[in-house]
Amino acid sequence: MGLNPPVETVYKRPETFTQTTTHYCPGCTHGVAHRLVAEVMEEMNLQEKTIGVASVGCSVFIYNYIDCDFVEAAHGRAPAMATGIKRVLPDRIVFTYQGDGDLASIGMAEIVHAAARGENITAIFINNANYGMTGGQMAPTTLPGQKTTSSPTGRDVEQTGFPIRTAEMLATLDGAGYIVRRSLHDPKNIRKAKKSIRLAFETQQRGLGFSMVELLSTCPTNWGLNPIEALQWIEERMLPVYPLEDFKVSPSLSQVRV
């Protein structure tokens, strides 16, 4: 009596997260990003009205982890598929979850036009500077000099050009309501990333246009680094190329407190 104070739950697995383990490599931040999306869905009570659009890449099986209706798009076409869903079901929440090969290479036209149309969808964009699923090839986001399995001596910008800063580019479009870049390399930035994912879904729920959160993520296996080194690599190598900023925030979002 009185010896055991009541236990307060301060942290738990979100209901929107399935009871399973992921297939991701140790140290990969896909799991963190998935969880943030699941937590936001739970907080906003969106589980029953959300349709996720999975893409092609390591996150192809995201529907095994986030517990809501899902479709699986062809490589790069998630924004087009999301458009089709949202246009016939405008009161649902539709989000895509895409990697950098999917969104910024093969699917560049689809994401640009979805943003330009002000399509009321949310894109969660995982930037890990390479093609993860196929074994670490060069992506449009690969850093200058970065070694990948298809740029074995390092990305030569003379031959293969320069990294694409997708968030900055999409933010120039009038249809975009919320475009930011965040990172998953430490707890502080993870908290900021979650807040941004929340704001992206708030953007959609308020009909303020296209929203995208670009998340700098690790790929320890293909980078040839251990998990801690991979987090440091984001901070030291990726941040100088991919600044963490708010590139476009609809003025109407200023009233939203999250």
Binding site: A54, F70, V71, A73, R77, T83, R87, V88, A109, E110
Partner: protein
């Protein structure tokens, strides 16, 4: 409803609307663009979805997404645009959801031209994207038939959760004929038990064409094949003309079949006992009927606006039992009835051996005609 003077492309679009079409996504390309333009005006005034996509690739994937919600959706394009849609068509087939597609064929390969042709037969009937599946393909030969088969396309798509293609050419798309449109049907919310709409008061659903375990994928392949067998057994459609006492048979689909009918009529007036078989479903293909006709006829002529793509299916059905001749025009050239009449006369008065290669002898004749 009374008959009106209608353009093929516009009649197809309006027929789709009256069948309860909820959403259309498309991209401009001649000779199909009137379909897109018709929807751009009509769909918004009915409070339905019209969206001009940034490419055919995007259009078919928007259709894919919308179809996953159980909505009645379609797109349309012409040959080069259809090539771009092949990716999405395969995914739709693999996901087993109903979609209707209109292909208004034009001259090719490559950019080709905007004149009527039938060079997409292989890409649609034997193609339709990667993997093991077959689309249902309907080939109307008039504006009225385009209307009727568009309505039927939606019913077949729903019935078999399949891709259904209405395959016409620029000729049928562009021409105007008197035709009757169906009465307006409201949009029916079908609440499909597979549709992805948000998991409210039910288990969540996942629509995907990925089956990472080969054993699972093989199960799907068998399921698609079983469904196809059902389609072959129940949905075969063709039309025959003057076939009762025919000793010679002409086979052609769409515009080629229609021009051939004029030639068959002319040949009949000359006393040549010739009939016409016009496949309406080119997929499933009337193999059994053609095989049966080899017992009744002593020669066949296949007429197409391509290099003999359907000819291969006819040859497979005939199995060398009777002589077959081929006559084709390509690249956007439409054959005239007189050209086909000359071929019917030749088939009648100068019969060839069953073993002769119909494509090679046709090429030889075309070469002679050129000189």
């Amino acid at each position: 409803m009374a008959k009106e003077l209608l353009k093929g492309n516009e009649a197809i679009a309006e027929a789709a609307i009256r069948s309860g079409l909820e959403a259309y996504f498309g991209y401009p390309i001649t000779p199909q663009t009137e379909i897109l333009e018709w929807f751009s005006r009509r769909m918004p005034e009915l409070g339905r979805t019209f969206l001009q996509a940034e490419s055919e690739l995007a259009a078919i994937n928007m259709v894919y997404g919308a179809a996953c919600t159980g909505a009645r959706v379609m797109t349309s394009s012409s040959s080069p645009g259809i090539s771009l849609m092949m990716e999405g068509i395969s995914y739709i087939a693999g996901t087993e959801i109903p979609v209707v597609l209109v292909d208004v064929m034009r001259g090719g390969p490559g950019l080709g031209n905007i004149a009527p042709a039938q060079g997409d037969y292989n890409q649609i009937v034997h193609g339709g994207g990667h993997g093991d599946f077959r689309p249902i393909v309907l080939a109307p030969a008039s504006v009225q038939e385009s209307i009727d088969l568009t309505i039927e396309a939606f019913e077949l798509a729903d019935k078999y959760r399949a891709v259904v293609v209405v395959l016409i050419d620029g000729c049928i798309g562009q021409m105007m004929e008197p035709a009757e449109l169906p009465p307006m049907q409201p949009i029916q919310k079908r609440n499909q038990e597979w549709a992805v709409t948000g998991a409210k008061d039910r288990e969540r659903r996942i629509l995907s064409s990925i089956y990472i375990d080969p054993e699972d994928e093989e199960v799907i392949n068998f399921r698609l094949l079983e469904r196809w067998n059902e389609i072959e057994a129940n949905e075969l459609r063709y039309k025959e003309y003057f076939m009762e006492d025919a000793e010679l048979v002409v086979i052609g689909f769409g515009t080629a079949g229609r021009v051939a009918l004029s030639a068959v009529r002319a040949a009949r007036s000359e006393g040549i006992p010739v009939g016409l078989l016009r496949p309406i479903t080119v997929s499933p293909f009337p193999y059994a009927r053609i095989k049966k006709l080899t017992e009744l006829a002593c020669g066949m002529l296949v007429v197409e606006m391509n290099s003999g793509q359907m000819l291969q299916d006819v040859l497979a059905a005939v199995g060398g039992k009777i002589p077959i001749e081929f006559y084709g025009r390509m690249g956007g050239v439409v054959p005239l009835p007189d050209e086909i009449l000359a071929e019917i006369r030749r088939l009648c008065y100068e019969p060839v051996a069953p073993s002769a290669d119909p494509r090679k002898s046709w090429m030889k004749r075309m070469d002679i005609a050129k000189n």
